[in-house]
């Protein structure tokens, strides 16, 4: 009687790649909800639209590559990319903008490099940066948070019309959008921190920008959930947040008119928490060992602050992540853990004496 032959181990843990991806999406839900609450339906509509594009692109590429479409879609990685992109893009980003960004992220940044697991760069961030460089004007169209004086939250219909202009309606973008708190702080050269906080509409009496602080806290909550579920280790987020804290402490530049903002402002403003828990933790394009992840996260944190404080863009998570993605293999070379029985960890490239 012939029995089946298979390799050990014969039992498996419950974790699957699809499950990991689903957890990530689940953890992004609070962030999405808060964003929707603060900035209207735009992000929500975008999420659905982008998801459709992402799944469509994935299926298209799988077909072109003659691979089973269902098998590729079932790992949910395209959907995760879609969620991250949707959360990162401005709520009223027009449909063609997101189409370009998402398709580019999936087709070029992911599948041209070999598909899931092979991409050196975070696809969502590649899509985001492409749009940021190509269409800078559309990418800063952030809405004021709910409750900002003089502005009204857009209804679902208005949001839909804003994203899909051919559905009618004519929104005056300039009338409904405004600069984000990060932008304000970067551009500011006349007011002190407390004056900014008191007077500026974006900051509006908050410590990290109206609405943004809640969005970030929601992401933080989602991130902690993932950490608890052991979807990733603490190293990369702690590295990034730690570096950001240190940088903002060191280079705060007082509370005068040339300040770069407080520590809390940097932690809870812009895409900090989204980056720390959903983007820096992307295992595919990040460093692989724990020590490497710590370094990788710290690099992102430093770069984020550098670009925010002295660079040409208000937020910097996407750029910082992409730059560190490039450095990841090098980090990997130098951060091998010390293997049991070895005195020192191995470093650098393979050497002939390793044999």
């Amino acid at each position: 009687m012939a029995l089946i032959r298979q390799t050990s181990p014969h039992t498996r843990g419950a974790e699957t790649t699809s499950r990991v991806m689903q957890l990530v999406m689940l953890a992004a839900l609070p962030g999405l909800l808060v964003t929707t609450a603060m900035f209207g339906w735009g992000t929500f509509i975008n999420l659905i639209w982008i998801s459709l594009i992402a799944v469509g692109s994935e299926a298209l590429v799988a077909r072109l590559r003659k691979r089973p479409v269902a098998f590729y879609l079932r790992d949910y990685s395209a959907l995760v990319t879609a969620v991250l992109l949707a959360l990162a893009l401005p709520p009223l980003a027009p449909w063609w903008l997101t189409l370009i960004g998402t398709a580019f992220a999936i087709i070029v940044a992911k599948h041209l490099y070999g598909g899931l697991g092979q991409n050196p760069f975070n696809p969502a961030m590649v899509g985001y940066v492409l749009l940021l460089i190509s269409f800078p004007a559309d990418m800063v169209n952030w809405l004021p948070a709910a409750g900002t004086p003089g502005y009204e939250t857009l209804s679902f219909g208005q949001s839909l019309q804003a994203i899909f202009p051919f559905l009618g309606g004519n929104l005056d973008y300039d009338a409904i959008t405004m600069a984000t708190a990060l932008d304000v702080v970067r551009e500011n050269s006349s007011l002190t921190w407390s004056e900014l906080q008191a007077t500026n509409a974006a900051l509006g009496g908050t410590f990290a920008g109206k609405g943004w602080e809640w969005v970030n806290i929601a992401y933080l909550a989602g991130g902690l959930f993932l950490l608890y579920r052991k979807v990733f280790t603490w190293h990369a987020p702690v590295g990034m947040l730690g570096a950001l804290i240190v940088m903002s402490l060191v280079f705060k530049n007082g509370s005068g008119s040339d300040t770069h903002g407080t520590v809390l402002f940097h932690l809870l403003s812009g895409a900090t928490m989204l980056g720390a828990f959903f983007i820096v933790t992307d295992p595919v394009s990040g460093a692989t060992s724990n020590r490497g992840r710590l370094i990788f996260g710290a690099g992102v944190g430093i770069l984020v602050y550098v670009i925010r404080a002295w660079g040409g863009y208000p937020d910097a998570v996407a750029f910082a992540v992409l730059l560190m993605n490039m450095a990841a293999p090098t980090i990997d070379y130098y951060t091998q853990p010390r293997t049991y029985g070895h005195k020192k960890p191995r470093k650098g490239l393979a050497k002939p004496e390793d044999r």
Binding site: T7, K66, R67, P68, V69, A70, F71, R74
Partner: protein, 193 residues
């Protein structure tokens, strides 16, 4: 006018300094050790089979050093080609079919009843792996045999076979699993688990 002279002077000085540095460096960091032929020879399988068209491994190593293609060694197979490509920093190309195809490790076997003791195979063996004397039965020392099959041709009674090296529980090894994309693309078609 003066400025031109300054420029020329500066460039000259720069050239001198750079030259001195380069000269020093070439002396200081001179690569010693194996000449390239030895390194290439060390990567070849040393079967001395001549399938590459050279009378032995070293001649082929010499001619690789002189620019011959690296894909003419069937006993070494792709592994040797890859190693050579790595050493010489050239592209690893597939094995040249003209010179034979890659086979599993072989060993010569003399059907001893048929051996007439002519010693021709002994003379043909490049590594002295055949034992015997005139009019006496010959036999192959398996551990010494490189599987070059140079002894097969000279045998007047065709009593030498090349047999694949037997797989035992001692030298057996696990096969590599099919890569995921291979399984998906080839085995399962569109139907996935």
């Amino acid at each position: 006018m003066e400025i031109v002279l300054y420029a020329v002077g500066a460039l000259l000085l720069l050239a001198l300094v750079c030259g001195a540095i380069l000269g020093f460096a070439s002396e200081r960091f001179k690569v010693e050790g194996d000449p390239i032929v030895d390194q290439i020879n060390a990567l070849l399988p040393q079967t001395q089979c001549g399938q590459c068209g050279h009378p032995g491994c070293r001649p082929y190593a010499e001619s690789i050093a002189n620019g011959e293609a690296i894909n003419r060694c069937p006993p070494g197979g792709q592994a040797t080609i890859n190693a050579l490509a790595d050493l010489l920093d050239v592209e690893a190309v597939p094995l040249d079919d003209e010179h034979g195809e890659e086979k599993p490790p072989m060993v010569a076997y003399i059907r001893e009843d048929e051996c007439i003791g002519c010693t021709k195979c002994i003379q043909a063996c490049p590594v002295d792996a055949i034992l015997g004397a005139a009019k006496q039965m010959h036999t192959v020392i398996v551990s010494e045999c490189t599987g070059c099959d140079l002894c097969v041709e000279p045998c007047p009674v065709d009593c030498i076979d090349m047999v694949p090296l037997e797989v035992t529980t001692r030298n057996w090894k696990w096969d590599k699993p099919l890569a995921p994309d291979m399984i998906i693309a080839t085995d399962r078609g569109g139907q996935t688990a």
